[in-house]
């Protein structure tokens, strides 16, 4: 065998071993793939109290896109959690009814992969999507619609009644059931990427630079908080080291224990601006700030770029969504109220 060929084989083997080790290291660091097996995935995303069905997904999709769930009739779930824009709105502070900005200057988090979060909202006050979905619909600066109005709007539309009957076997429509149905749709908003292929054993799914980026990500300690399937989604102390200096906008201080929900890193390159208050636009800046404030380390430009190279591998394939044609309002549908 020629030396050059031998060398290639040897390097290739080393590379395989290294990649193999990296997969192990990543898993030991708490990183987990979105399973490619549909049955395994379903186990992870399903809700035994509100099982996923095709009918619920289709109805939930309609409700998710229906602005008539808001007081004004102009704002839907998709306004702030826009499935075309990485699952959020791309503006610093969530802005809703009457153009009101979130009173704590909180940034809309992405809905994609939120099913994997251990709790919902920046302060983690909600245990799951079924509960979470009830919040923004009612919140004054968001959709501003009282429960009763939402139920009246939906039940005024015969096609919705029929769809609830098909989805649940009975036609009783409650606010909670509306939120449950939206949550069912949200549960399937999952975006697998080449990182998942890699974690599942495809050593070539990431290239050399991407692997180096992942290694740096782990070595620096990022996976301490950004772990599990979502690379985020749990409550963690914030800030760990130093001051809250990147948070001079808004009054959010986390939950009762100053814990803050860790944002998912999936599709993070698509969901600027960053942090709970949406104050930083540059992902490089974010990586450095996180190093200083959460890990107590200074991350160099070179390492920052490596980490970003890895983060790009988390850009996932979005579910293909047919834009719904919503059932029409009737004479009984409560009118929009812009005030």
């Amino acid at each position: 065998m020629k030396l050059s060929k031998l060398l290639v084989l040897t390097i290739s083997s080393i590379s395989l071993v290294v990649a193999g080790n990296l997969i192990e290291t990543a898993k030991e660091s708490g990183l987990k793939p979105i399973p490619s097996s549909q049955s395994e995935l379903l186990k992870l995303i399903d809700n035994s109290k509100n099982p996923i069905t095709k009918n619920k997904i289709e109805l939930g999709k309609k409700l998710y896109f229906d602005p008539r769930l808001s007081k004004s009739g102009l704002i839907s779930c998709n306004t702030c959690h826009n499935l075309a824009l990485g699952g959020d709105d791309g503006i610093p502070s969530a802005t809703g009814h009457k153009w009101t900005s979130n009173p704590h200057h909180l940034n809309s988090p992405t809905v994609y992969n939120s099913v994997f979060f251990s709790s919902q909202f920046w302060d983690g006050r909600s245990p799951h999507l079924e509960d979470q979905a009830q919040g923004p619909i009612q919140a004054d600066p968001e959709m501003a619609a009282p429960k009763k109005l939402v139920v009246q709007r939906v039940t005024s539309i015969p096609e919705y009644i029929e769809s609830f009957k098909e989805a649940y076997g009975d036609e009783k429509i409650t606010f909670e059931k509306i939120a449950d149905t939206i949550a069912t749709f949200e549960r399937i908003l999952i975006t697998p990427s080449k990182f998942d292929k890699f974690l599942e054993g495809d050593k070539n799914a990431l290239n050399k630079n991407e692997k180096e980026g992942l290694k740096t990500f782990i070595d620096k300690g990022c996976a301490t908080c950004h772990n599990d399937i979502a690379l985020g989604g749990t409550m963690q102390p914030f800030p760990v080291v130093g001051k809250y200096k990147y948070s001079n906008v808004g009054d959010f201080k986390g939950d009762a224990n100053s814990m803050v929900k860790v944002p998912t890193l999936r599709n993070i390159t698509e969901t600027a601006p960053y942090f709970h208050n949406g104050t930083v636009w540059s992902l490089a800046e974010v990586v450095k700030i996180m190093g200083e404030t959460q890990l107590g380390v200074k991350i160099s430009n070179i390492d920052t770029n490596k980490i970003i190279t890895f983060l790009k591998t988390l850009e996932g394939e979005k579910p293909k969504i047919t834009y719904p044609v919503l059932p029409k309002s009737t004479d009984k549908t409560p009118k929009p109220d812009m005030n």
Copy 2:
């Protein structure tokens, strides 16, 4: 032949003749079908100066749904011309940037079938969709984005540059070209219904009541203004008879000659509230008001119901639209401005 069978045949023949006559009458009244022939349709909807291509449609769809074309980054064409809601917003007065209502209290018209209009906007000031699309993007109470900002936003995104290159053969992006591309997408937003099948000769496409409704519609004179393919879309005097009594909200007085664009009746059952100022929600009320004010006749409850039965036949099949995944912003993308 048994008498009963003979009777059925005779009645059936009479019914055919009547339907045949009705098709002729409808055509003589100026009503035209959306052609089922794709080549005939293309001749009607294409723009020789900006020919429809698949690439332009796909890019135009992205731009249509992209809220980054607005100053705030929160309002897209689809916000007010929502393809899920009959092509408009379902609220009385168009509301945009900073929650500002249209200063003349004008209602957002549907985008569906607007390609068939002889002019655009309520005062008909725009000759075609390419020109129209430039308006709301810039208008302060709508998307409020200066031309320069729109071009900067789009050109800051490499995937958009690539798409323009694919669509036009060169990568020069101007505000006018952005509007042209959106218009191309809008040109295909056409909703054929059973009424078109009927006009094209399928005598059974409408049932007895629907035919009676069509006949009443024509007999009462509605087709005088609501004619051609869109059953609307031309400029007409308004009001013809009586006072402007259904227009006590807003200061809109039509064009220089007090002419007002006739709204299309296609999907009219899905696009309440009605009139240029969106003040009337009941279609029955609208039919009666139009009788009095435009035709000088009192339309009875029975005839109103007949006409509405016909109007329901204009609910068309909406084009199936895959919700786009938009290319991500970059560090160069001008930031949202909520003010």
